[in-house]
């Protein structure tokens, strides 16, 4: 190697090292800390969130002249977003001032100390009364404090085919009062359709099986999954057994979907985009987003869908109070504990979630006053779905919820495929949860 090429090589190596080290330092020139920049992060892609935030940003900046709102998108799927967001919130340097947070992350993230309690702030805010009470449970975290303002929510219910019901001689609109009546209806339409009763019941549907099926059922019994007072998971209960028995009755009486596709990850899409439009599904226990597939820009456009399909709330097991059952999730805006502009962040959140501004695509609104507006109720059955929020419940998403949830999915799938009886599946569930979360964190009813 010649003298000069050695020199050049040395220089190159030095340059690379220098660049690497400055890179490690991170850029600190985004003017954070002087109270002038408000940083918000959200999960992208989400066009309706982006356009809503753009409008609020404009309004906020014109009212606070020295403030710039910096909206940062995190390109991510649902599974990785929490990780990326948590890593940002962990450090003073990178913590944003406002974060879009899945309500089911509120409990663990507040316990981890990532989020700022805003109970005092919302209690001093007159609009807070306008949010549905059960929706507020979804943003309640560690110590019973409020950790976020809800921006959207969802519900689950029974989507049934009116035409099929009429043919079978069942009165519509249909409103079953007990699980027995649901099973009766499914039995009556058994020979008319390919799938009399659809419900997510495979491990492949992941959280869908826990949330759309199992927790909706369990919430309709007198049992619970988590004892909030004693902070223990309830691994054996009458309601748990009853919920599994309901699923067992569906499948052992041939009222469910064929197992060859019914417990695969493609099952849900097949039902909503193929079989329901073809009139081959009698009743589907599923989320409020199902008709989204049938909109003009959806996966399976079906403009006249509401002539066939109607919605009824899932009844409680024996018709006990409050008569119906559902489960909700949804998104919120929260303030990280390491934000340096907490008061300003709250002002922004209040503005974004006001009656005038809270417009988040076709999501269900968490506000009662928006739910009463004509503009909001133009969407089919929107008023009906929103009324479910009066009796909804949120997931007990405490530490270990992911492990408990995946054991629920195993139990549901075992009953669905007839590998275990409901009693055996509950026994197995108790054993697995005790192993996964520690016996001292569990109890039986």
């Amino acid at each position: 190697m010649s003298y000069w090429s050695k020199r050049i090589l040395t220089l190159l190596v030095l340059a690379v090292v220098a660049v690497a080290f400055t890179g490690c330092g991170g850029d600190d020139n985004d003017a954070k800390g002087d109270g002038k920049t408000l940083e918000l992060v959200y999960k992208a892609p989400d066009d309706s969130f982006a356009s809503w935030m753009k409008d609020v940003k404009k309004q906020f900046e014109s009212e606070h002249e020295d403030v710039t709102v910096d909206i940062t998108e995190i390109q991510s799927n649902e599974g990785d977003y929490p990780n990326k967001k948590i890593l940002m919130m962990k450090s003073e340097k990178t913590a944003p001032d406002i974060v879009m947070e899945d309500s089911y992350q509120i409990k663990p993230d507040s316990a981890a100390g990532y989020l700022e309690p805003i109970t005092d702030k919302v209690n001093a805010w007159s609009d807070w009364d306008q949010f549905f009470e059960p929706v507020k449970d979804g943003v309640t975290g560690k110590g019973g404090e409020i950790y976020g303002v809800p921006i959207s929510t969802d519900v689950r219910g029974l989507w049934y085919n009116k035409k099929v019901f009429e043919e079978a001689g069942i009165d519509v609109p249909w409103q079953p009062a007990t699980w027995e009546e649901v099973l009766d209806a499914a039995e009556k339409i058994k020979n008319q359709v390919e799938v009399p009763f659809w419900l997510n019941s495979g491990k492949a549907m992941g959280e869908g099986t826990t949330m759309q099926t199992f927790l909706v059922l369990l919430n309709g019994t007198d049992s619970k999954l988590y004892d909030e007072e004693k902070e223990k998971w309830i691994v054996k209960s009458d309601g748990f057994l009853k919920s599994l028995e309901f699923i067992d009755q569906i499948y052992s009486n041939d009222l469910g979907a064929s197992l060859s596709w019914g417990i695969t990850g493609q099952g849900g899409a097949k039902v909503s985009t193929e079989l329901m439009p073809a009139g081959e599904v009698g009743i589907a226990l599923d989320g409020n987003w199902v008709p989204g597939n049938w909109q003009e820009n959806g996966n399976a456009p079906w403009p006249e869908w509401s002539e066939s399909i109607d919605l009824a709330p899932m009844p409680t097991a024996d018709g006990q109070d409050p008569g119906h059952t559902t489960v909700s999730g949804g998104w919120t805006l929260s303030i990280p504990a390491k934000s340096d502009n907490k008061d300003l962040a709250m002002e922004f959140i209040k503005m974004a979630t006001s009656k005038e501004n809270l417009r988040y695509g076709s999501q269900l609104t968490p506000r009662k006053d928006i739910a009463e507006m004509d503009e909001y109720n133009q969407l089919t059955y929107q008023d009906k779905m929103t009324s479910f929020l009066e009796f909804t419940s949120y997931r007990p998403s405490y530490d270990n919820y992911p492990a408990v949830s995946s054991n629920i999915q195993s139990a549901v799938e075992a009953v669905t495929t007839d590998n275990l009886t409901p009693e055996e599946a509950m026994k197995q569930f108790a054993k697995d949860v005790k192993r996964d979360v520690g016996e001292e964190n569990t109890k039986t009813e």
């Binding site: 599974g79 992350q105 663990p108 981890a112 990532y114 492949a204 990850g265 530490d399 270990n400 192993r435």
Partner: protein
């Protein structure tokens, strides 16, 4: 120039001084994380939840839990099947065969075939995964071709998930073994083979008794490298099957990812990664020992 003299005079000091940048970097970026992994695997560290706020030393809890966890057993078995079929048998055999058959062939032939095999290796794992996903999926190329023969489409990635990822990994990695064996075979002295031939050894005997013993060293080195590479394969399986359906293609790296980043149990995840590291070390020692005893 006394300083100069002392550096020149003490070879150890000189080695230390010239080696220090490398040693510091290794300590910082290799030993550091390993030591931290060992420490974290004895804690209940979590990404979120109460434990994230209050990480505690929990002794061997992670390991007791691991050995009682049926999913851990499943992923160990999957990892071993994947390792043996894909690395130890598949890549070694295919790599050796291609190299052996190409030996002494015409240059254009060698370079064409070599390039084709290499193409699989230089393609990034994630691209390989997408290409093969397109090939194996329900309406993919393979099913289209089979369709011409009147065979019903088969959901390969659902029905045969582990076999599919093993096959893809062989396709992706065989070129590395091929290169290693090519170099080793080129080093086998012509005279030895000719001598064996004159002594009346047939082609099989020459391969088994002459060529293979000579290249044994290269084979073991290759085995170590391929084993370690395969043990850590994540992207390929994650993108092709996600470890599913169920846990049918969940190997240890995927199981670790699930525990650490889906269930947020970082402590448990690092404990699994430590087991993965130990398996890698154990296998490497085994191979090296095997090389030494026979020498």
């Amino acid at each position: 120039m006394a300083k100069h003299k002392s550096i020149n005079g003490n070879p150890y000091l000189r080695a230390l001084i010239f080696g220090s940048p490398a040693i510091v970097l290794l300590l910082l970026f290799v030993m550091g994380p390993i030591i931290m992994t060992i420490y974290f695997s004895f804690t209940n560290m979590a990404l979120t939840g109460e434990a994230a706020n209050n990480t505690q030393f929990i002794g061997f809890d992670n390991f007791t839990r691991m050995f009682n966890d049926p999913s851990f057993k499943t992923s160990i078995i999957n990892t071993l099947i994947f390792l043996i079929c894909s690395a130890v048998i598949g890549q070694q055999l295919v790599g050796f065969l291609v190299a052996f058959l190409m030996k002494k062939k015409a240059k254009p032939f060698r370079s064409t075939i070599g390039l084709l095999v290499l193409a699989g290796w230089i393609t990034p794992e994630i691209v390989v995964a997408f290409v093969w996903f397109a090939f194996l999926s329900d309406q993919g190329t393979l099913n289209t071709i089979l369709g011409f023969a009147g065979i019903e489409p088969i959901a390969w990635l659902l029905k045969f998930p582990l076999i599919s990822v093993i096959f893809v990994n062989i396709w992706h990695g065989a070129a590395f073994s091929m290169l290693m064996y090519q170099a080793a075979l080129d080093d086998v002295p012509q005279e030895v083979e000719e001598a064996a031939k004159i002594d009346g050894a047939n082609a099989w005997q020459r391969l088994w008794r002459v060529t293979l013993p000579i290249i044994k060293g290269a084979a073991v080195t290759n085995m170590v490298l391929v084993t370690l590479q395969t043990l850590g394969v994540f992207t390929l399986i994650f993108a092709l099957t996600g470890g599913g359906p169920g846990e049918k293609s969940t190997t240890l790296p995927l199981f670790m990812y699930d525990q650490a980043f889906v269930n947020y149990q970082l402590g448990y995840g690092t404990a699994i990664s430590l087991v993965l590291l130990l398996i890698g070390i154990a296998l490497s020692l085994l191979y090296i020992r095997f090389l030494k005893t026979d020498d």
